[in-house]
């Protein structure tokens, strides 16, 4: 199942990249298409975030150490910490929150 997703996703993403090189100009230059394409990454990254933070193994909402990690990541981004630093701080926070028994 994972291989199907890996290969299917890879083919889709490559096809999308190639599409830009072969498509006639009048299709993509439309302002509405440009607006939608600019908003898609924002909407999907935002939707992925709470799902990854708040969903437990059983598919239900749960508050655990991941939320503590996300709060620290948010503070790190406000303080302009670079990408890898944000990820490391979030992980360390979640690990410490679990190790000390503050949150599951």
């Amino acid at each position: 199942m994972i291989w199907v997703a890996v290969l299917g996703g890879s083919i889709s993403c490559f096809a999308l990249k190639l599409l830009g090189y072969v498509i006639p100009e009048r299709f993509l230059a439309h302002p509405n298409i440009m607006r939608v394409t600019a908003l898609i990454p924002v909407a999907f990254l935002a939707a992925l975030m709470p799902v990854q933070t708040l969903i437990g193994g059983d598919g239900q909402l749960v508050i655990d150490a991941r939320l503590a990690g996300m709060l620290v990541a948010l503070i790190a981004l406000i303080l302009r910490v670079p990408f890898l630093g944000v990820i490391v701080l979030a992980s360390v926070t979640a690990a410490l929150t679990r190790a000390t028994g503050l949150m599951p």
Partner: protein, 233 residues
């Protein structure tokens, strides 16, 4: 140092920065249940960071292959626009066009756009960035996935928090205007509401899709200016 050498140096620096980010991708891919081979296949074949994180995110929360592919594809749509723009500068044909398409990502397009005063410089920036990011992103993925294998249970090290933190860090620089912020908040709320109601992976598509629609509507209202808000009052 010649201008060309400076552009290549800057491009390799961008590649080095993404290597660090490739390490985190490799590690969280393993935490989401992928094998090191599968993580490497994504970095080599899919080669577009946000889509790769989306795919492993959906799989990690129990979503199906179709939902994972759809989430990755939605985030890959912007590469079509990049390719469309780069085609006018690169003038590539045949095998060169396939190679150009594969390295058409945020970083290579961004660096090329920074040097558009000279088409030759823009081409140098595109290829140098694309190739260095490709090589170093894949090297980073390998390091991260093999390193994660040595760690044992990913949750013990907080690696499950690394995935949403990566999404937040990818989202952060895109929140530069009111429409983007509005769209992001709507997507977050809809994803939380939809999650207990729909099968895994699907809430992301529903919330993302609806948020884009509402974001466009929001921008339309704003563009009509104070006149329309007066009517509402």
């Amino acid at each position: 140092m010649t201008e060309r050498a400076t552009i290549i140096r800057d491009s390799v620096a961008v590649g080095a920065a993404t290597a660090a980010y490739g390490i985190s991708f490799g590690a969280v891919a393993i935490a989401s249940g992928l094998s090191p081979f599968q993580a490497q296949a994504l970095s080599g074949l899919m080669f577009t960071g946000a889509s790769q994180f989306a795919l492993i995110g959906v799989i990690g929360t129990g979503g199906g292959a179709l939902a994972a592919v759809a989430a990755a594809a939605f985030l890959g749509v912007r590469n079509s626009l990049y390719g469309f723009h780069m085609a006018t500068i690169l003038h590539v044909r045949g095998a060169q066009r396939l190679a150009a398409a594969q390295v058409t990502i945020d970083e290579s397009t961004g660096m090329a756009m920074g040097h558009e005063d000279s088409p030759a410089n823009a081409r140098t920036a595109f290829w140098a960035t694309g190739i260095s990011v490709f090589v170093l992103w894949n090297a980073g993925t390998l390091l991260g996935s093999l390193g994660a294998g040595l760690l044992g249970d990913p949750a013990r090290w907080g690696l499950d928090a690394a995935i949403p933190a990566a999404f937040l860090a990818l989202l952060w620089p895109r929140l530069s205007n009111a429409t983007a912020r509005f769209t992001a908040v709507i997507a977050i709320i809809l994803a939380i509401i939809a999650t207990p109601l729909l099968p895994p992976g699907v809430p992301i598509l529903v919330a993302g899709g609806c948020a884009v629609g509402l974001g466009i509507a929001f921008e339309h209202r704003r563009n009509r200016g104070p006149h329309s808000t007066q009517v509402n009052e």
